[in-house]
């Protein structure tokens, strides 16, 4: 596959690792803010190959992990309704709610369907006029243009039996919240390449200045990741705190204007609760009033107030902020495993807890 294989080349990766070893002169802690980047790092084994001076923290970059418990419970409540076809991206199906997950709802007879694109959910609505199709619109800014288009098209094509349950989160506000937290100690950020493909990277410039921290837009393949890490280390070693772009084949400073325009047409910025972290002001999107008809929480007011019950043992919020390591959680590997997760960071294959679960066992075996 073009634009994929060449960025997984073993020789080039080896060469960049040597460059990195030469560039680094003291310990640096970098945070990558994207679940997809975490996934790629683990899948390629890259984190074990980095020079030991570099610590890579996996930040709250997984929209699955940070979707508030309340919204997961609302999704489950909607999915259990007989007149609803509940559609979602695959990632959300195993995320635990207060009592159960969407998988369990499907097992109990709920019509829960995985879709690849929000337009597929719209098609299901057209094909099933006697049901209401609810679509779980989660994601960072990357997914917002697609989710927004579904709403625009529903309105344009006059599709009435369609609604969206919105849980969008945005990155810059999260970085701000992390940098404001006294417990978080990060020297540099790797910004998410596909978020920035949509939004550009101009929003990060004030953050770099205010918090005196380099931010490098980074892609997803091993070569891209090393490029981003190298650039960030170069900034740090030179005492600079710039925003730089290591994914220029896809990202420009301004980003994708048509996409931003539709996001702004459909969504407005609001405060959002991040699971395990709490409310981060101005960190989410909600539907604008003119699209209220398509808001599932208004279409089904019964789900507005839901009693949530987070597991008292779960510390995924602290893990997501890089404050605690998964192994420091009392439930890790005991009450909480990938098969029976207590929190989202154990469910998602790039959630930090799931990743540690795999590697921790290897490290433990190696020592025995």
């Amino acid at each position: 596959m073009k634009y994929v294989e060449e960025y997984r080349d073993a020789d080039l990766t080896g060469k960049l690792l040597s460059d990195l070893r030469r560039a680094v002169s003291r310990p640096w802690t970098l945070m990558e803010v994207c679940g997809g980047q975490t996934h790629s790092i683990i899948k390629s084994g890259l984190d074990e190959m980095l020079p030991h001076e570099i610590t890579l923290i996996h930040g709250p970059g997984c929209p699955v992990c940070v979707t508030p418990l309340e919204l997961v419970d609302k999704a489950i409540a909607l999915a259990m309704r007989p007149e609803v076809i509940f559609t979602s991206y695959g990632d959300m199906l195993r995320v635990p709610g207060s009592e159960r997950d969407l998988f369990a709802v499907r097992a109990a007879g709920g019509d829960v369907r995985i879709v690849y694109s929000p337009l597929d959910a719209l098609k299901i609505a057209k094909d099933n006029p006697n049901k209401t199709v609810v679509f779980f619109a989660i994601g960072f800014e990357t997914t917002a243009p697609a989710n927004a288009m579904a709403v625009v098209q529903a309105k344009a094509q006059k599709i009435q039996n369609f609604a969206v349950l919105v849980s969008h989160v945005t990155v810059p506000a999260a970085i701000r919240a992390l940098m404001e937290s006294p417990d978080v100690r990060v020297d540099g950020f790797l910004a998410a390449g596909h978020v920035c493909t949509v939004m550009g990277y101009w929003e990060y410039e004030p953050l770099a200045i205010q918090y005196r921290i380099p931010i490098v837009v980074t892609g997803f393949e091993p070569v891209d990741l090393l490029h981003g890490i190298l650039m960030c280390v170069q900034e740090l070693e030179a005492g600079r705190q710039e925003v730089r772009n290591a994914y220029a084949r896809s990202v420009t400073r301004d980003g994708n204007k048509p996409a931003q325009s539709v996001i702004q047409r459909v969504f407005e910025i609001c405060d959002r609760a991040w699971r395990g972290i709490g409310i981060i002001p101005q960190s989410g999107y909600r539907l604008r009033p003119e699209f209220a008809f398509y808001d599932a929480e208004q279409r089904f007011p019964e789900v507005r107030s839901i009693e949530t019950k987070e597991s008292p043992l779960c510390i995924s919020g602290l893990v997501l902020q890089g404050i605690k390591k998964p192994v420091e959680c009392t439930a890790f590997g005991k009450e909480c495993t990938p098969e029976r997760p207590l929190g989202a960071t154990m469910v998602s294959s790039e959630g930090a807890c799931a990743a540690y679960y795999r590697y921790g066992r290897l490290a433990a075996k190696g020592k025995s």
Binding site: M1, D19, R249
Partner: protein
């Protein structure tokens, strides 16, 4: 948030008033919406996320960066094997 895959545009058409494309992902063919890439042409490589094109990959930029990354650091290679 993240899973964006590069694919080549092999056909452009309209459906329901939206600009759509058939995309070839290294042998797998799937439809994607091109509403966010008004300048896209057949033959372009695009990043596709949940069935939507988000960017047209800049081939010149990609080649230039690749060359930069591959450049042997003159100092390093003359010193022989790195630590």
């Amino acid at each position: 948030m993240c899973l964006g895959i590069p694919g080549k545009v092999i056909e452009l058409y309209h459906t329901n008033g939206m600009q759509m494309a058939r995309i070839d992902f290294g042998g797998v063919i799937k439809e994607a919406c091109m509403e966010y890439l008004p300048d896209v042409k057949v033959g372009d490589y695009t990043i596709i996320h949940v069935g939507f094109g988000l960017s047209i990959l800049d081939e010149a930029e990609a080649l230039e960066t690749m060359e930069l990354l591959k450049q042997i650091d003159a100092l390093g290679s003359e010193e022989g094997t790195a630590a």
